[in-house]
Structures are given as structure tokens and as C-alpha cells.
Amino acid sequence: MSLGSVYISPNEIFQVLFSDTFNESAIYNIIIHYRFPKTITSVFAGAALGFAGLQMQTLFRNPLAGPFVLGISSGASLGVALLVLSGIGITGILASWSMAIASIVGSSIVLLLVLLVSINIRDSMSLLLIGLMFGAFTSAIVSVLQYFSSANDIQNFLFWTFGSTGNLNWQEMKVFIPVVVGGMAIGYTQAKPLNALLLGENYAQSMGLTIKKVRIALVLSTSLLAGVVTAFCGPIAFLGLAVPHIARIIFKSANHHVLIPATLLLGAILLLICDIIAQMPGLDLILPINAITSLFGAPVVIWLIVKSKNMSRNFG
């Protein structure tokens, strides 16, 4: 929190947070209205994305699964693209709200489609492919929309796709945090089924797991987590994919009672680190967080693949 264009010492931060000395000063404003919400957002967004990635990787038994392959983020992008590129000039507080809503609506529509398909499909691999197809489909629509939009609208949309954890004010936090916590709660109740799913769906069913119920709970949890984060922070790449792998390597466990807290913690830490890098101390500008996560996430994933030789052995 102390790092940024203006350096604020930890001491001052504590004073702002826990006493009244700095009321209404510039530092107070920076901390309460920018740094503090940003930090909390990073913690929750990182934890949410990591957890969502873990659930998807186990459900699909695929090391490359993440919240984004289900098409959830593409759905969110489509919602935002429709809003921004349609050129309706909403400004101020309404703009961020309508953006969030458009994004959540977009991701829920894709989610509902995926859920509908999943009722008729037995194996999760097809579901994964369908998610990818939905993603391709929605990004195609986004491209078409971009083609017909004004330069200004495209710029707005591009800024959203860069991702940022710093756009949330306290009002928006009141939506963001409960949804994330709700998604995590649903996900946490599935820790035991997730363990059973490690052996594959046939074994899981033979152990008394109701596969449809679990699948719906997991997809619901993931889309809540990924949908709301994408809505407020933009599509943050790689975190959902990389965090579960790092957690498995560090904690050397396949047990989701261990992995869930581990991904929550690591996701939060990683996004915080990326966030700090994004707003390098001494620099006046803030880099897009999505670029940072990709810049660091991609090499990490490559390193992981090379190190473990056979990725499929290392995922849960």
C-alpha cells in the first residue's frame, strides 16, 4: 500500500487506518479512496481467480483448464463490448456500474448456455471444448463490433481489457466482495467431491457422488468468481491457470482441503505482487495489470511444464 506514485510510509498508513490524525488530508484521501480498496480488490480477485482455476482443472481433469476456457470471460467481454462499443455515452458512476452489470449478464448468459449443454453431455472434455467454442464465438462478435465502432469507443473498451484492480470504489466493493465470498463458499462445500473427481468421473460416481449436482455447483461457483472479477477488474489472464499449479508444487498435495486455502493465499499474493509491479514506485504511470500477469504468468507456466516434463501428472 505504501508504494505508488507517491510514497507513503507504513507508519502513516496505520495512522490513517486506525486513528483520526490525518482526516481529510491528501494522504488520507489517497489511502482510503485508492490504495486501500485497490489492495483489498487485488487480494479478493487473486484468491477468486486462483480458486476458480483449481476447480476447473480438477473438474475437467485438464491442466490447461481455467475460468477463461469455459467462455466466462469471453461472455463478460461481449457484454462490455456491446455496452461500450454501442457508443452509448454513459459517464461517471453509472458508467462503471453499467459496465459491471453488462459483464455479469454476459458471463451469466454464456454460463447458462454451458450449463444447458452440460446437462446433455456426459464427459467434461466435450464441455471444455464447447467452452472454447463459445469463447471463439463471442470474441468474433467482439471483433465485428469493433469494426463498426468509433475510435473513441474502441479505446474505452481496450482500457477495460487491460484490466485494473484500481477502479473500484467503496460502493462497488459492496457488490464485489459478497459475490466473491459467496462463490468461494459454494466452491468450498465441494472440496470432498473435488477430491473424488481426481480419479475421474466414473470412479467418483462409483463412490456415491452425484456428478450433475457437483458439476453445476462447480460451474456456478467458478462463474460467480470469474464473472465478478472480470466485470470489475477486466479479464486478468493466467492467474487462474498458474496459481493451482504453483500451489500443487509448493504444497505437494492433491487434497483439496489443502489446495483450496493454498490457492486462495497464493492467488492473493501473486495478484498483489503483480499489482505492485504494475504501479512501479517512482513511475508516474500505472501499467495494465493484464500485461503484467501475462508477462510473468506465461514464463511461469512454461517453466512448470518443462520442469514437470509431463504436465498431466502434476494436475489434480
Binding site: 481426481l198 480419479l199 475421474g200 466414473n202 462409483s206 463412490m207 456415491g208 487434497n255 498431466s312 502434476n314
Partner: protein
């Protein structure tokens, strides 16, 4: 163990696959029964529907016709958890549970017996330990399942099914990837388990010789005909074994 107690049977069961309106029936009019403490070997050529039968009996896929009755109750009327407490499985599905060790694998067998948190009670721990002892895998209990051999993994999977503690265990080709020694060990182990625990076991296998020697009953599946069941000796006398496996007579 009294071997007269009927715990499991099928009534005019038909198995196969439905695709739209077309139905592909692999086997029909299957009337079989399993007694407590019986070791049954299901023999038949590739593609005749052995795995399909195993999966249907375990309710992993729907029946086309007829009923499967477990302990006097249709398996369709069981809740998922209830059924899992009575039937356990060893399948040919590849296991990809990275970072999982043998102990954790066997503990998964207790899944239908634990609450939502998956916390193991002392009874669960004891059953897991007994299953590990009975399958003679105590020495690898902390090894990662990718460090152990296929034969050891198969034993661990059997231990998992054993820890699930149902009356009936279904095994789909448990010896399929193994060398001759391991095939022998696994079948001997299964025979020993049936005798020690009084559970009933149905094994689909291509090991005709071992099945003839160890099984209490054989189920012979051939394309187009209904499954024939009987004691190995009876089936040999009726020349059914020789008819189905002509290569056996050429060997001896």
C-alpha cells in the same frame, strides 16, 4: 461363510447403448445371480460387452430393459451414496491424480461413509489400514501413485475398493496391463480377499486358465447368445469352455 445367500441378481437385463432412436443391444435376457462370498469370473471376447455389463451393474450407465436387484432392492431405487456403500469398483480408467499417494487413494474408498467435510473417523482409518494390510501394500503406503508399478497400482485400487466396504466388488479387467507374475498375484489376492472378507467379487478377465482354477462360478459371454453361468467343472464337462476358447486344447 454360507454360500447360499443370494445378494445380487439381474432380471431379464438388456444392456447396450441408445443413440437417438436407435438402440444397440449388446446382450439381452441376462439372468444371473451372485451369492455372498462368491468369486465370479466373467469371460468373453473383446467387444462382447463385458465392460458394458460391469458398468451397467454398477449403475454407471442405464439399463435398456430389465432390472438389477441388490439386497432385494432395485439399484435404481438406491441413493448414490447408499449404492456406493454396497458396490465398489475397479475400472480400467486411467488414473491421473497427480500428487496422490497410495494411502490417500485408499482413503478415498471411505468417501461414501464420511460427511461433507470428508473427515475420516477412527473406524474409517481402521478400515483403510485393514484394506492396506490385506492387499499387502503397506510398504508403499506413502509412495506417490506415479512412482509405483502397474501391479502395485492395481493392488492399491483394489485396496481402495475394499475400503469402500460394500458386499459386492466389481472389477473390470484388473489384470489387463500386467505381466504374467502380477496377473497371477492379483488373481490370487482377489481369491484370498473373497475367502477372508466374505465379499462377493465379479471380475471380467481374459485369464481363462486362472478363472477356471479360482472362480466359484463362471459367466461366459459370447456374441448373440445369452450369458451362460455355471461352475467351472460343469462348463468344462458341457464342452462350453472348449467351444469358446478353442486355443486351450491346442496348447495342452
Amino acid at each position: 461363510m454360507v454360500k447360499t445367500d443370494n445378494i445380487f441378481h439381474t432380471e431379464k437385463l438388456a444392456i447396450g447403448y441408445k443413440k437417438g432412436r436407435a438402440t444397440n443391444i449388446l446382450m439381452d435376457n441376462i439372468n444371473l445371480s451372485v451369492k455372498r462370498g462368491q468369486m465370479i469370473c466373467l469371460l468373453g471376447a473383446n467387444g462382447v460387452g463385458k465392460s458394458t455389463l460391469i458398468r451397467t451393474l454398477a449403475r454407471l450407465q442405464p439399463t435398456l430393459e430389465g432390472n438389477v436387484i441388490l439386497l432385494g432392492k432395485n439399484i435404481l431405487d438406491y441413493k448414490h451414496k447408499e449404492l456406493a456403500q454396497n458396490i465398489s469398483l475397479v475400472l480400467t480408467d486411467p488414473i491421473q491424480g497427480g500428487n496422490l499417494n497410495v494411502l490417500e487413494l485408499v482413503q478415498m474408498g471411505r468417501y461414501p461413509h464420511t460427511s461433507w467435510s470428508g473427515q475420516l473417523s477412527s473406524i474409517d482409518d481402521e478400515k483403510v489400514n485393514i484394506a492396506i494390510q490385506q492387499c499387502e501394500i503397506d510398504y508403499i503406503r506413502n509412495s506417490n501413485i506415479f512412482e509405483i508399478s502397474d501391479g502395485q497400482l492395481q493392488k492399491a485400487l483394489i485396496a481402495r475398493a475394499l475400503a469402500q466396504d460394500g458386499d459386492l466388488m466389481l472389477l473390470d479387467e484388473p489384470t489387463v496391463h500386467l505381466d504374467a507374475n502380477n496377473r497371477f498375484t492379483i488373481m490370487e489376492l482377489l481369491k484370498k480377499l473373497v475367502e477372508e472378507t466374505g465379499k462377493s467379487v465379479i471380475i471380467s478377465t481374459h485369464q481363462v486358465e486362472m478363472a477356471l482354477e479360482l472362480a466359484d462360478e463362471l459367466w461366459l459371454a459370447s456374441c448373440g447368445d445369452p450369458i451362460v453361468s455355471g461352475k467351472p467343472k460343469e462348463l468344462i464337462e458341457k464342452k462350453l469352455i472348449a467351444k469358446m476358447f478353442p486355443y486351450l486344447s491346442k496348447l495342452s
